[in-house]
């Protein structure tokens, strides 16, 4: 069936099973490969996107559920929060990098609603995003650095 989704400000008409997780629509149908598959069960955060600004696990969200809403992915973050990306690069956060799209989308959502997150706020907002390489300390620093620079 045909479903309309708005991803990064662009409307797409898709002919897919309405139960298809948004993750696979992004990756397999829209070639937006920045969003990653890590667990498929909402446990790792690698697939995090924002839906109307809320960080959401795209592996558990059906495409039907986002019809009529705004999806934004890592590919659009450079337009939304370029300073956050810069902080990520300057802190040399990423190791293998596979988790980082999800980390960034969670971090961006946190900063959009909390201009001065404490360590507890960061722990809470980022607990759903696993980084097997263990870049957590640098993620914290990059989030704080961005928040401070914005003040």
């Amino acid at each position: 069936m045909s479903i309309t989704v708005n991803v990064n400000g662009v409307e797409h008409q898709l002919d897919v099973d309405e139960n298809t997780p948004l993750l696979w629509v992004l990756r397999d149908h829209l070639a937006l490969n920045g969003t990653k598959f890590g667990c498929g069960r909402g446990l790792c955060g690698a697939c995090t996107v924002q839906i109307d600004g809320t960080p959401t696990r795209s592996c558990l969200t059906t495409v039907a559920a986002v019809s009529g809403r705004h999806v934004s992915t890592i590919e659009s973050l450079v337009d939304q929060q370029p300073d956050l990306i810069e902080a990520w690069v300057d802190e040399n956060v990423s190791q293998c990098g596979y988790c980082q799209s999800g980390q960034l989308m969670s971090a961006a959502a946190l900063l959009a609603t909390n201009a001065a997150p404490t360590d507890e706020d960061i722990d809470f907002a980022m607990a759903g995003n696993i980084c097997r390489c263990g870049t957590y300390g640098r993620i914290r620093k990059a989030i704080r650095r961005t928040a401070e620079a914005r003040r």
Binding site: G34, K36, G40, L77, I85, N92, V93, Y98
Partner: protein, 731 residues
């Protein structure tokens, strides 16, 4: 370090195309070895530096990038000798080819083995550029100098950019033994550099295995046999799938008979036009599997077998004096048993591979740690001619040892061969945990008697674990190998006049492989907790106790001879321990509610000491701070070394705190991150790292930060009143 020459490089290695200078270099490399050890070394060309007429320097990285920053480090080394401008350097990924020398990116040895070849390549290119400039100016090359991506002639104030010189330089002979820069003049080596892929990663543009799509490609979602050794007998495809136009079909793969090696296991592949269709059908298949000799494998009873194994003498690897007589006749001895469970690599990117078989050729794109072994395995398993097999690594979304085993690539090759179209194999997390090459579970038993000064008078240590060799080499290679034991056991720095070091091996019913820092994980755990126990018995501070044990010691000898220039020196071990004592303010009166634990370990030729601080008021003994000191000899990217230590603390904490895998009836019980518990943001302490400035030879960085973490945590928990915890996971 052996000297390396460029003289025997053939003319053909100088690819002069559109004015590009390409320099090849030679490296000493080792043949296949699962982890690291001294083995026969052969000469082969290893790295290429190309300089375009536009001045862009392309460094080809022949090692795989999995987060350890090797692409950046390789470029730093080459650029330093070349006197290149960092902003004008791009790094290309090499495909698997013996011409590059060893490409097996594990064992923390990329920089260790290739530091000199890379420097030579950069220096040779620099000398050729200088010569080209001198020739064009009619001056002596000795009067010219390369700096800032150009050659300068001070006397005449002339300057020519590298790009302008590239073509002329490419016509020149390669210097036999180029002059290397002196350490004081290094301008990239030892400095901090942002990873070359950092921006691509942070914008979602970095390309991993599953991000590549080829025309007409189909997806294969795998359903693997619940038990190792089983093959699919009958498969029932649901009616709904048959009606789904995006479902293409299924293919069955039988378990490979004989040694396990890197061969595919029994599976049913669901072929589909997209991943979700594949996953959906995979979840609905009804499959009958054949019986397997492994179907009774049970991790609890295997652990019990390991416990039994250390109760009686094992193979004696080191024996001095008469430990048995002293220990057996002692009125009082200290005895402790330490245990660790099965662990999984669980890189964030589950295995994925693309293969495109066309006629008798195959092209592979996949996140592999060793493209050459992958290539050779395809050649031998699938009967392709070597020249017809091309394997190019993508970025690896984490690996930690998992992706040096190309079983998942062989699946893709087989399926593409059958279906005559490009195939991308996609494992789900469940496949990844089920069919890892697991980190071996283990048991260590330590016994010692102490003299009046508190120092050991007799010491017996036994280890038991399933050897990696029983999986990757031959099923009957059950005994631990010397290189496995030289990971913190036979090369223990804790010595005594009456000492027996013994080992036993047992065969497990699942695949065993190397995981970041390998056997060091359990050997560092047993040794460091036991020494803390002895210190307590002796009424001494744990750091003082270690220092006292090392009094008068110089070099530690393991089962294998040390590599030249890489002796295990007590002085360096002592140094990192003393430094971490200062950095953690070990001797301060620790604030109420906190406690410190220490561990120190030598692995991958590097020395690491770690102190962890735990919060006593937290029932889970949350780690609030970690202090790490690393001596890895000469280092290349200082920030990468620090990042690797930070990452190692978190990786080590996963194993120390909660990670554990169990098997019943040959089948794994933990299927995803709800069962296999990995450290998350709230678990991550604040970490400080000191990197020792050293002019020793470069040594390992990726792995040696891991081993001290679990014992330091156990020791801290004990100090915090949580009792002696001798079994991982600790929480």
């Amino acid at each position: 370090m052996n000297s390396v020459h460029l003289s025997n490089l053939s003319r053909r290695n100088f690819l002069v195309s559109s004015g590009v200078l390409v320099v090849g270099s030679y490296a000493y490399t080792s043949g296949f070895n699962p982890v690291y050890a001294n083995s026969t070394r052969t000469l082969s060309p290893s790295v290429y530096v190309a300089i375009g007429t536009n001045g862009v320097v392309t460094v080809t990285c022949h090692r795989s990038e999995m987060g350890q920053g090797i692409k950046t480090a390789v470029a730093q080394v080459v650029c330093d000798e070349l006197e290149a401008d960092w902003e004008k350097v791009v790094v290309a990924q090499a495909e698997g080819d013996a011409k590059y020398g060893d490409q097996n990116t594990d064992g923390s040895r990329s920089i260790k083995n290739f530091f000199m070849p890379l420097r030579n390549a950069g220096a040779a290119a620099r000398e050729m550029l200088v010569q080209a400039a001198a020739d064009s100016w009619g001056v002596d090359a000795a009067e010219c100098e390369a700096r800032d991506h150009a050659v300068h002639h001070a006397a005449s104030s002339r300057r020519a950019a590298f790009g302008e010189l590239a073509h002329a330089a490419s016509e020149l002979a390669v210097p036999d033994s180029p002059t290397l820069k002196s350490r004081e003049t290094w301008n990239h080596i030892g400095k901090s550099r942002i990873h070359v892929d950092a921006k691509n990663v942070a914008t979602g543009k970095a390309v991993y295995g599953a991000d590549v799509t080829l025309p007409n490609m189909a997806i294969a979602v795998m359903v693997h046999a619940p038990v190792l050794g089983s093959s699919p007998l009958n498969v029932k495809i649901p009616e709904s799938a048959k009606k789904n136009a995006r479902f293409i079909g299924i293919e069955t793969i039988d378990a490979t008979p004989g040694p396990i090696g890197f061969n595919p296991v029994g599976s049913v592949a669901v072929i589909a036009a997209d991943t979700f269709t594949g996953i959906k059908v995979a979840e609905e298949l009804e499959i009958d599997w054949s019986d397997s000799p492994n179907q009774d494998f049970d991790s609890d009873s295997f652990q019990q077998d390991l416990r039994e194994a250390v109760k009686s003498p094992g193979n004696v690897w080191h024996g001095v004096g008469d430990a048995s007589t002293v220990l057996d006749g002692a009125e009082e001895k200290i005895e402790a048993v330490y245990e660790t469970p099965f662990l999984s690599h669980a890189p964030m990117e589950p295995p994925s591979a693309i293969a495109n078989v066309v006629g008798d050729t195959v092209e592979v794109l996949a996140p592999v740690q060793d493209p050459q072994t992958t290539r050779n395995t395809i050649v031998s398993a699938k009967n392709f001619a070597l020249k017809n097999v091309k394997v190019t690594p993508t970025l690896l979304g984490g690996a930690f040892g998992r992706k040096s085993k190309p079983d998942f690539v062989l699946e893709a090759v087989e399926l593409s061969r059958r279906l005559k179209r490009p195939i991308r194999v996609q494992w789900r997390r469940e496949n990844d945990l089920q069919y890892d090459y697991f980190h071996a579970p283990s048991v260590q038993r330590y016994e010692a008697t102490l003299g009046e000064n508190g120092m050991p008078t007799a010491w017996r240590q036994r280890t038991a674990f399933p050897s990696i060799m029983s999986t990757v080499a031959a099923p009957n290679m059950v005994e631990p190998a010397n290189w496995e034991l030289d990971m913190g056991f036979t090369n223990t720095p804790y010595r005594c006049e009456n000492q027996s070091i013994e080992a036993a091996g047992l065969k497990a019913g699942v695949r065993i492989g190397w995981l970041r820092s390998v056997c060091n994980i359990f050997h560092a755990f047993g040794a460091n907790v036991f020494v803390d126990e002895l210190a307590e018995q002796a009424g001494m501070d744990p750091i003082d106790y270690r220092l006292a044990m090392w009094d008068g010691m110089d070099v530690v000898q393991g089962a294998l001879p040390s590599e030249p220039g890489h002796e295990f020196k007590i002085e360096r071990l002592r140094n990192v321990l003393q430094k971490v004592r200062e950095n953690s303010d070990w001797d301060r009166k620790i604030a109420d509610g906190h406690a410190l634990g220490v561990a120190v370990h030598h692995s991958f030729l590097s020395y690491v000491a770690s102190v962890l601080e735990v919060d006593r008021s937290d029932s889970n003994y949350k780690v609030t701070n970690a202090h790490v000191v690393l001596d890895c000899g000469t280092y290349v990217n200082s920030d990468t070394c620090i990042a690797q230590m930070e990452g190692a603390v978190v990786f080590g904490l996963s194993a120390a705190q909660r990670a554990k895998l169990t098997f019943k009836d040959g089948t794994i019980q933990e299927n995803n991150f709800d069962g296999y518990l990995i450290a998350r943001m709230p678990d991550a302490p604040s970490i400080s790292v000191e990197l020792i400035d050293s002019d020793h030879l470069p040594a390992g960085v990726g792995e040696p930060g891991v081993p001290p973490v679990a014992p330091a945590l156990s020791n801290a928990i004990y100090k915090a009143g949580g009792g002696r915890r001798r079994s991982l996971p600790l929480i």
